[in-house]
């Protein structure tokens, strides 16, 4: 489909229209931080942000997902929750976070199709907004992405001054725009030029760089190297890096009950937690922080490439920004490549 433009003053009209058909999630400022939240009032939306604190994967792969509820005792019964047909739009998602969804699809649509993830994913339209200003630790360009990469989006919107440049990537995106087609205008050559300039400017501002060529094979050779010990010495073992990661997808399942009723829930889990691998016998195959720090790196840069031919990192930089002790995945990978074998 041809690209379009949307005058800035018509964005609200567009969002209002889609709000009547879809549940809209968009970036909202909470004090100094930005989160993707369900939008009640359009004025809550902010587009002046680097990226959200928690990745928008949390809308599709929720931190706490109620799988079903149940009653216990004589009148025991199971109530499944039906949100199969709820239509969502994630507006303002960054290209890197959109890519993470494509990565997660591999896991949740593998030999077992996960209904909780897949239904929401199917019914969610991703409307991305290009990055005007990358952060210090953005490195999406090293991960086959970019600040205006539309590959994993249904619609990409770029701010080109007084209007938005709108790219519609597929039928999902098209059906979102269809009802409000009259708000949009044709693109001019000048618009196209501005759109490319924006992308180039953002790309040029990305200063950090991870070299990933051959990394999976290299990691095979250095599993027992001392590098993992030296990196993990300062690791505190908290879950920031994994909970903020748009591609981390491990979860734990628990029944939370009272005497009469309860719910089966699943919550994000983190391989940084010793409990993550503890066996019922008490034995822990990853007993030390070294084993756990290494696992995070290997899962993304070795196991995932082996299983799906993809690196499970999109270069959003969140884990680097927020690590309390400056454990830096770019530094780790670049160093790992230099280890002599």
């Amino acid at each position: 489909m041809d690209d379009l433009t949307l005058p800035k003053n018509k964005l609200d009209m567009f969002l209002n229209k889609i709000k009547s058909d879809y549940t809209v999630y968009a970036p909202v400022k909470v004090d100094d931080l930005v989160y993707f939240k369900k939008i009640e009032k359009l004025k809550d939306i902010t587009l002046d942000f680097y990226n959200s604190k928690v990745p928008p994967k949390s809308i599709i792969f929720k931190q706490t997902e109620t799988m079903f509820k149940f009653k216990q005792g004589l009148d025991a019964e199971i109530q499944t929750l039906d949100d199969k047909n709820k239509k969502n739009v994630i507006f303002g998602i960054r290209p890197c976070d959109a890519k993470s969804m494509s990565i997660l699809d591999n896991v949740f649509e593998d030999d077992f199709t996960d209904p909780y993830y897949v239904n929401k994913r199917k019914n969610t339209v991703l409307v991305g907004v290009s990055c005007k200003q990358p952060t210090i630790n953005c490195f999406c360009t090293s991960m086959d992405g970019g600040p205006a990469d539309s590959k994993h989006l249904d619609v990409l919107i770029s701010d080109i001054g007084n209007r938005y440049y709108v790219e519609i990537k597929n039928n999902k995106g098209k059906s979102l725009i269809d009802g409000t087609r009259n708000l949009f205008e044709k693109v001019t050559n000048n618009d196209k030029k501005k759109r490319l300039q924006l992308e180039k400017k953002s790309k040029d501002e990305i200063s950090r760089n991870m070299k990933t060529e051959g990394i999976s094979e290299k990691l095979d050779e250095i599993f027992d190297d001392d590098i993992w010990k030296s990196i993990s010495l300062r690791c505190l073992g908290c879950g920031i890096c994994t909970y903020e990661c748009p591609t981390c997808h491990c979860f734990d399942i628990q029944d939370e009950t009272t005497l009469s009723d309860g719910a089966r829930i699943r919550v994000w889990d983190t391989c940084m937690n010793p409990e993550y691998t503890v066996h019922a016998s008490g034995h822990n195959p990853r007993p030390a922080r070294m084993n756990r720090t290494r696992n995070r790196v290997y899962h993304k840069f070795n196991y995932f490439p082996k299983n799906y031919n993809l690196i499970a990192c999109v270069g959003c930089g969140r884990c680097i920004n927020d690590c309390p002790v400056n454990i830096d995945i770019i530094e780790i990978i670049n160093k790992a490549r230099e280890v002599k074998t």
Binding site: V30, D31, D32, L33, Y35, K53, V54, Q63, T64, Q133, T135, I136, N137, E205, S207, R208, S230, L233, R234, L236, G237, C238, G239, I240, Y243, E244, D252, Q254, E256, I265, V267, W268, T270, N273, E275, P287, A288, R289, I320, D322, P324, V325, N326, D328, I330, E331
Partner: protein, 327 residues
């Protein structure tokens, strides 16, 4: 500022001893205004050691994180000492832990350095949001001097100091084997103005405030893991049988976790503020801890981690202890 050369010399002497396995200090981080904890294991490492006002971490957490894994059949336990560099506030954690018998004094070697305040990473990153080069930092009495690519900028200390440093009562370490530098004169008394004004708010307003804060919690437990005083073998939040706090991430469970942690630190928190610094959701945890610190101080005239001879607050009794709160 501390004489870096002297600090390195001292660390070099220490690490050359064969009863010290490593010394924890700081080195330059990988980008911007980051320094990182640094484990010095040999003389070769010493040149990378730094100390400047960006060295915020309370390194006394590391002896508590030391892993004691099962030994192989013919192996013997490594009983050599851990060296740690401490600022004033950090040193109180060691005093408190030794009081609680969480550490043996003879198992650690402490290098104390006086500290006139550290820079709040959130504040400085707001001033220089996109600087990826690592700057050089110096200070005079009133300003921090930041040198990026030979460009010198003076920033008034009051603008970027950590809030805890503005009311610091203990700039000099209270426990050490070696002290490097010159003692800083202390004039400040405990300052609870902010807590007092918060206390005056309506109960419903206070609850609403905390609900909004706890709502952001993602339960990464960075607050717990960075805290030198959170060293329970098994944290009650990890226990499954019985399960005290559910794994669901919602306001109820998040509040239970954060309030429980604050109470567990009553009379123990030494106010290093690391929990608040590391919190990815910017939850003002110091406010909770400081409220309890104030109550403990006013009721029992007790400041945690200041007197190694004393017993921990909750394991001693004085006949004149107030008991208005006992039903």
């Amino acid at each position: 500022m501390v004489n870096q050369k002297k600090l390195r010399e001292e660390v070099n002497t220490l690490i050359s001893r064969n009863d010290v396995k490593y010394i924890i200090g700081w080195e330059k981080g990988s980008y911007g205004f980051k320094m990182k904890p640094f484990f010095i294991t040999s003389s070769e490492d010493v040149d990378r050691l730094v100390f400047n006002p960006l060295c915020i971490h309370n390194l006394t957490v590391y002896p508590m994180l030391e892993e004691k894994l099962p030994l192989r059949k013919d192996a013997t336990e490594d009983k050599s000492k851990i060296g740690v560099i401490v600022k004033g506030c950090d040193s109180r954690a060691i005093v408190q832990i030794i009081q609680e018998k969480g550490l043996n004094r003879e198992d650690i070697v402490i290098i104390g350095i006086p500290c006139s305040g550290v820079i709040d990473p959130k504040k400085i990153e707001r001033l220089f949001p996109l600087k990826s080069e690592t700057p050089d930092i110096d200070e005079d009495e009133k300003n921090f001097i930041i040198i990026i690519k030979d460009k010198i900028q003076k920033i008034p200390k009051q603008d970027i100091l950590m809030d805890k440093c503005k009311t610091c009562e203990f700039p000099n370490p209270l426990i050490y084997d070696t002290f490097i530098g010159k003692e800083i004169e202390t004039v400040k008394n405990a300052d609870y103005k902010e807590i007092e004004s918060f206390e005056k708010k309506k109960l419903s307003d206070k609850w609403e405030y905390w609900e909004n804060q706890f709502d952001k919690c993602i339960r990464c437990y960075a607050c717990r893991n960075v805290c030198p005083l959170c060293y329970c073998k098994e944290c009650m939040v990890d226990q499954l049988n019985p399960q005290w706090v559910r794994r669901s991430v919602n306001i109820s469970e998040n509040a239970a976790w954060n309030i429980m942690r604050a109470f567990h630190l009553a009379g123990r928190c030494i106010g290093c503020g690391e929990c608040e610094r590391v919190c990815p959701a910017d939850i003002p945890l110091t406010k909770l801890n400081k409220k309890l610190e104030k109550d403990v101080y006013e009721m029992f005239d007790y400041k945690p981690g200041t007197n190694i001879e004393e017993k921990p607050l909750l394991s001693m009794f004085k006949p004149d202890d107030p008991e208005e709160f006992v039903l």
